[in-house]
Assembly symmetry: C2
């Protein structure tokens, strides 16, 4: 590549999140970096977009790095749309989202703002990767994963990604020397077994907090959840064509014309 | 079935939306209906869940129907979780979401609160269907589709759905006599070509409205978009295992271990 690649960086934990700052640091070693990230945490936003409200955009200067930065009042998906249509003067060569503070493996991918930004980029034709660390701690150490992030990003820049595919990369919570390497995986079949924590507000009205326990239904050793539990970095290729092609024949056998 | 099936009804347009009321009316002819719906419109919420905020729940009485109703301050996915864990004393036999005011065909499925509720139910093991009408009009006429809704719901109750599958049903904007019937489809390859409408607030600060134009990249006649444009009702089986299994071999050929 003659000129340096243009890299769009975003996340869902907000523009000051340590995971985002770590990702910017690595991307600055590869290309020209533009950051467009939410001005506040957006965890659990799924693939939300802002259609019934206004969106604000502000130029930011968070550290002394060479990157250009903007914060927005929008969702992670909004960030990608704004970057493409209002900020960048060409299509970026790569979009990276994260590093999320917390796992986006298994069924978590569906609730993930981090992954929704990567998927939005994929829909818009930009090669995209979401990165997450299985550690909710705001002080988590991202340094052990920097080389892997660089290698994965460089591979995507060099090889491209098949149409309609983005990568969901998760890092295990493990010391540097404990990382066993990278494993290409499928999404583990799993769900969250929720319970609601019911409380009363000072006015005596009931309200709820959503809490839950992750349940892995999958005993396969080719899943992202298995990989992470065995100290591998999981890479799952994911698609945004949700069609269950194998069910079309079955449904055609139903009598649906009333 | 000895006792009447238990049917959970939800949506993303809010508990007073005419599309929800139409769906309740049909479901009351099939089973015992419990409604848990957002207290305000949640369009474009994707698969958002409320993890950083409290959730309120209120018993409602909107009309004189036999159904039981609750409104919540949560998202469509929250509604399903609340219903299962806090409201219902057994797993419902069916969850229906909608009828959405506006299309959830093609790539719209990914931004859809209506479909996220159906997918959430699917994840929790409840057979689920999302219904949408390709008409944003709040006064749209749902009556021509009532028989189809009943037939599709009864088929799902009778046959069940394969594990990990939910149905995305869209109705064309067409007069009663114009409906050509039901077509099982795949999700059309498509995207939204956004533009942002930049304005200034009274304080002189720029803000944006997200607007866009739907672009269908798919010339197949087996897609939901094709079906709807030709006055068919589209039914797409969708899955929440996002793994692109066909890409795993390709990625295994990359050198990702730094």
């Amino acid at each position: 590549m003659a000129e340096k690649p243009l890299i769009l960086v975003t996340n869902d934990d907000g523009i000051t999140a340590p995971g985002l700052r770590a990702l910017i640091k690595v991307m600055n070693t590869i290309g020209d970096v533009v950051v467009v990230a939410p001005d506040s945490p957006q965890s659990g936003m799924g693939h939300a977009i802002t259609i019934n409200d206004t969106i604000y955009l502000r130029k930011e200067s968070i550290d002394n790095g060479p990157q250009t930065e903007y914060s927005t009042s929008g969702t992670p998906s909004d960030c990608v749309k704004l970057a493409k249509h209002e900020i960048l003067d060409r299509i970026p060569d790569l979009c990276v989202s994260g590093i999320n503070h917390g796992s986006n493996a298994a069924i978590n991918v569906i609730y993930s703002g981090t992954m929704s930004a990567a998927i939005e980029a994929g829909i818009e034709g930009i090669p995209a990767i979401g990165f997450s660390l299985c550690d909710y701690n705001w002080e988590a150490d991202f340094e052990p994963f920097e080389n892997y992030i660089k290698t994965i990003a460089e591979n995507v820049l060099k090889n491209g990604l098949p149409k309609g595919i983005v990568l969901n990369v998760n890092f295990p919570k493990v010391e540097n020397t404990g990382i066993k390497g990278v494993k290409i995986c499928r999404q583990a079949k799993s769900y969250w077994n929720e319970s609601f924590d019911r409380r009363q507000n000072p006015q005596g009205k009931d309200y709820y907090w959503l809490t839950g326990k992750f349940v892995n239904l999958d005993s396969g050793n080719d899943t992202d959840q298995w990989a992470l539990e065995h100290n591998y970095i999981s890479v799952v290729p994911i698609q945004f064509d949700f069609t269950a092609h194998h069910c079309i024949e079955l449904l055609n056998s139903w009598k649906l014309n009333a």
